[in-house]
Structure formats: structure tokens, C-alpha cells
Amino acid sequence: MKFNRLRLSGFKSFVDPTDLIIEPGLTGVVGPNGCGKSNLLEALRWVMGENSFKNMRGTGMEDVIFAGTAGRPARNHAEVTLIIDNADRSAPAAYNDCETIEVSRKIEREQGSTYRINGREVRARDVQLLFADASTGAHSPALVRQGQIAQLISSKPINRRRILEEAA
């Protein structure tokens, strides 16, 4: 499974549909303070099944929906889609006959989130399992949040073990 593209719409400061192309090797993401770089990482973790609003820096999960600016009204829903290339047929059996896999998550105010894989509605659990089988997921140690790198060292030994479990 290769991650190809991340599509955001109405997610935090990315109110207009935005595509982040993910290519092999090293892709740098740059820009001034407060422009939305960390929001991109959050969009990726959110579509992979992040279920704690605290880990999205908000006071409720609806804080991921575009809240409006001086010049634009707030939105009522947010959606993120992750497009995965499955040409190497390494996905779990249920989805392995597809050439590409599209995982999407949508949230509407007052209605909660719904997940879809290739258009079909699924449970959060199904999405989390899909990514866990591919050694990734919303809590993967390979997704290092801002300010978090030193925390790995200073946290208690029992918390550090989680990173080993990832390797097992």
C-alpha cells in the first residue's frame, strides 16, 4: 500500500478543497507560523481514525470543522479523503482486489463522523484495522506531532513501550 494523496475540504483552516500529493522520498512542507502546516498532519491522523478531540487540539471533535474567518462564514461539515495505491496488492483481503483504496471521513455539526472505504460506509474500527495491518494509524510513532519528539524520551518507561509494540 502506498499513500498517494490526501484531500481536505472544510477541515480546520483548509476550507476550500485542497489536495496534498504524497510522493516517494522526502517532501518538505514550509510556510509561516499559523498558516496550517500542522493541520495537514492532523487531517491525516483524523482520517485514519483518531477518536480523541484532545489529540486534535480542540475542545470537541467539531473543532475540526472550518470555524469561519473575518471574511468567510463557518462551515457545517468537514471531509478528508486518503487515496492509497494498492497496485502491490498488500491490503487486507476485504479490499485487496481494488487497484486504489479511498478512505474518507466526514463530520457534520451535531451528527458525528462517518467513515467510508471506496464509497461504502464502514465502522471506525474497520478503518483502524485497515491501517494497523499496514503498520500505521492515527497513533503510529511515525507520525510525530509538533513539540512531541522530546516527550518520547521524557515519558515513563511503560508509555515508551507502546513504541515497541508498534514494531512487533
Binding site: 476550507v15 514550509v30 514494531a167
Partner: protein, 162 residues
């Protein structure tokens, strides 16, 4: 469960020592499973000794030394069980220029030995210069983020203009 955990631990530990010595240009580091007989319950202790220094508790290491040690651990896990994607959000912030270069050397080595795709969020000009491609996030309209693909020269202007 237990066999797999022990096997994973051995692999991560040997990767961790190698990467640490590589990143620090010397010194020595290793992991230990602690606190309980059952590896499934144990915690993970980290021992690190930068070159020329005595072995100390992790908390006495400096901000930059802790960041490099943490990176060695994350990538040690990676090499044991590569993940399709890795995103690093300003992990180079505490590093001095020499260590930023070493961090980039390590990143380049990772792209040669794994299929992992990397997104590296950074403010460091040195790191930007070593990326295969750059995306700029801008808020030309205040409060609204858009994504543009930039070349290095434009990115450096980015840094100045903001």
C-alpha cells in the same frame, strides 16, 4: 505474543544503537526492558551516552541531544517494521546546524533503505534545501490555508517574506 515482542525488542535495540552512534558521530546507546519478568508488561528504559561523556539519566541530556536520541528510537522501530508514511512536525527545531545536517543524512539513508514516504514540516533553510520537493502552505486570504508547490528559491523567499 511474548516471542514476537522479544524478537522485536532485539531488532529495535540493535538498530537503535547503530543509529545513535551514526547520528552522534560516536558514543553508545541501548535499550532495556524493565520492571517486570513478563516482557508483555515491561517498560522500556533508554540508556544513552553522547561521545566523550559519562552515561547519564536521559533527563540530563540537552534539548537537542534528547531530540536526536528520540529520532534514533523512532527510526529504529521503522527499520524493524517500516510504515508506508512518516510525518515529522518541526523535529529539527531544537537542533543546531551541524545536527540538522546529520538529521538530513539520516533521512536520506531512510529513503534508500525503506519505501516509506516522508512529509517533513520545517522552518530550517538547511532542511528545506535537502528535500526532494517542497510544498508551501500560505494564507493569502487571512485564516484560509492553501497549498502550493514551490521551488527552493521561492521557499527561501517565503522564509523572508512571511
Amino acid at each position: 505474543g511474548r516471542e514476537r515482542m522479544l524478537e522485536a525488542f532485539e531488532k529495535v535495540n540493535s538498530n537503535f544503537s547503530r543509529l545513535f552512534t551514526h547520528l552522534f558521530g560516536g558514543g553508545e546507546a541501548h535499550l532495556k526492558l524493565t520492571e517486570s519478568e513478563d516482557p508483555l508488561e515491561a517498560g522500556l528504559e533508554i540508556y544513552a551516552r553522547p561521545p566523550g561523556k559519562r552515561l547519564q539519566v536521559m533527563s540530563l541530556l540537552s534539548g537537542g541531544e534528547q531530540a536526536l536520541t528520540a529520532m534514533s528510537l523512532i527510526f529504529a522501530v521503522f527499520l524493524t517494521n517500516p510504515s508506508p508514511i512518516c510525518v515529522l512536525d518541526e523535529v529539527d527545531a531544537p537542533l543546531d546546524d551541524a545536527n540538522v545536517e546529520r538529521f538530513c543524512d539520516l533521512m536520506e539513508e531512510m529513503t534508500r533503505t525503506t519505501d516509506t514516504r516522508f512529509l517533513i514540516i520545517t522552518h530550517h533553510a538547511l532542511t528545506m534545501a535537502r528535500m526532494s520537493r517542497l510544498f508551501g502552505v500560505t494564507m493569502q486570504e487571512r485564516g484560509v490555508s492553501t497549498l502550493v508547490s514551490v521551488d527552493l528559491e521561492r521557499a527561501e523567499r517565503f522564509l523572508e517574506a512571511s
